[in-house]
Amino acid sequence: MTKITVNGREIDADPKKPLIAACHENGIDVPMYCYHPGLRPVGSCRICQVEVKQGDAPARVVASCRTPVAEGMIVNTDSPKAHDVRRECLEFLLKNHPLDCPICDKAGECDLQDYSFAEGQTKGRTHEPRRKLEKRKSLGDVIVLDEERCILCSRCVRFFEDVTKKPQLTVADLGSRSVISTFLDKPLKGNYQGNIADICPVGALTLKRFRFQARVWNLSKHLSTCAECSRGCSVTAEVLRGGDTKRFRPRFNPKVNQWWMCDTGRFAFAHVNAADRAVALRRTADGLEACDLDAALSAAASALRGKSNVAVVLSPFATNEEAAAAKALAARLGAKTCFVSPAPNALKDDFLHTGDPCPNRRGLTDLGFAGLAAAEVAGAIAGAGAVVLAGERVVELLGAERVAALTGTRVVLFDTHCVDAAALDACIGVPVHVEKDGHWTNVEGHLGRLTIARGAPRGVRALDENLKRLSELVSPAGAKA
């Protein structure tokens, strides 16, 4: 560790990291555009300049992202000279930046906006017209580039060079005509394109799927975990006015996904935002009818009571808490347990995606649930007296036709959507993963936290709570089944 002084405070800095990282890690704010902790520093934007005094030499202003820390360095991030230099940099960055914040998706979380308010001038001094470039340039299926807004920080270029190791972007042309471009104008490829919209410090790179969908200050942000593979990337679920989840964004987690996530997880809204959610249904003489939760639970209990050869089948999306409740229920019923384990998909890569679409495989396996393919599960439950299917998307993964084909078996379903099956006695709604608290264990054993980003539909309670109540109803505590 190297000792340096920043703004009169002595701090221990990692000599392998640049000065700006030392400042940030110690809670000292230094503005940055081109620097990103996950990328190689290039020092192109110059907004991170601070005043540094070393030894007897007079203090000079240096770019803190390209300056290694040195013993005894005296740094001042707040000196009038540093502020002056940064303000001049901002003036040049803003010279050709269109002031279209009202239509820009980045407005509200834009670094250029923030530092302009903090340090910039209130009035521009140029009279020349601003540079006109392409406003809506499509870079593949995921990203739209607005060349006018780009400040050429080259974070996106370096993302493909440093992180995915497959360079796809470059700064084309020279001087004031420089623009970000793909090689030969080919569309971007790969499953990690969305990240460049996250790291873009301005609104130059935006997501096609999120374009103009919401103002970012209207989104409430909640920590969550990606459901698309067993990596379990830490994400933020961003919900618009308590309704639809509008985007998933990676959340820094040094042990799992650093700053990144794949596009499959980023755009996994289809299930999360699905409409027509089941709340509570039970079978009566005229078929399935909606009822209240208590009635559905007691219908479920009477379907299970006294049955021999019962099976509890979990969805791979079940949290550890739900799995524990399911295990307790299975113990009361003397039931077999397993979870539906979908086949690995072709999305596996050497970066984040594991190809295993089962976010809690490790957690469920640790709790003693065996992962069986859908066909195996169907074989295992075929002769059972009763079966409890529990967890979001369990029917979808098992195959609705397999559930419909069950005869002689009574089915109790806990899922987001009901299924039309003669064997079904009760269906009770469950929250999707952005609507519940809990944990998933990822493939390496790290716990991923889920929090309630939005309320579940009215009447839908947590699955573990419902499973606990069901075990009470099936065989009250004390009475041995």
């Binding site: 009202p102 239509i103 406003k135 103009f212 103002r215 006015r241």
Partner: protein
Amino acid sequence: MVIVRRKELSLRERLYLPEIARGLSITFRKLFEKPITRQYPEEPLPKDEVTRGQPRLVVKDDGNIACVSCGMCEIACPAYAITIDGGETDRPIEREPKKFEIDMLRCILCGFCEEACPKDAIFMSDELELADYSRAALIYDLEKLKRPKSALQKRIDYVYRLNNRWRKSSSTS
């Protein structure tokens, strides 16, 4: 505690009739003067450029809405009356509102939306009447809010004059 002493009445006052005659004389005199009350629905209120009625959205002369759904009025609204969902358009401005709702029951006609708008797209019209049979019908949508620019021109000119100190030219064309 206040002690109120009853006024000693004079004989003339105690006689009662002269005072009645005096009162009625005022009443009859007023019958021939110009009335100061207004027969409201039949006789509308005077409307001026300073009248701050319900907010309305400007439709520019080329037929397009001036609003780009930036959400500034939504965030400025102290009564949370405005809800906007944006979307993409092929026009050069790229963005336009897909849903723009003002809950007129919530709107307090404060004019903050007009002040917040960076695109000169929302102005306080001179429309003040608000009545309907259901609450849902008083949540005005895009179609109910759109007004041609000419209908709001007086107010637009007034706001420009008012803000002339810091704003010289129009961004609404």
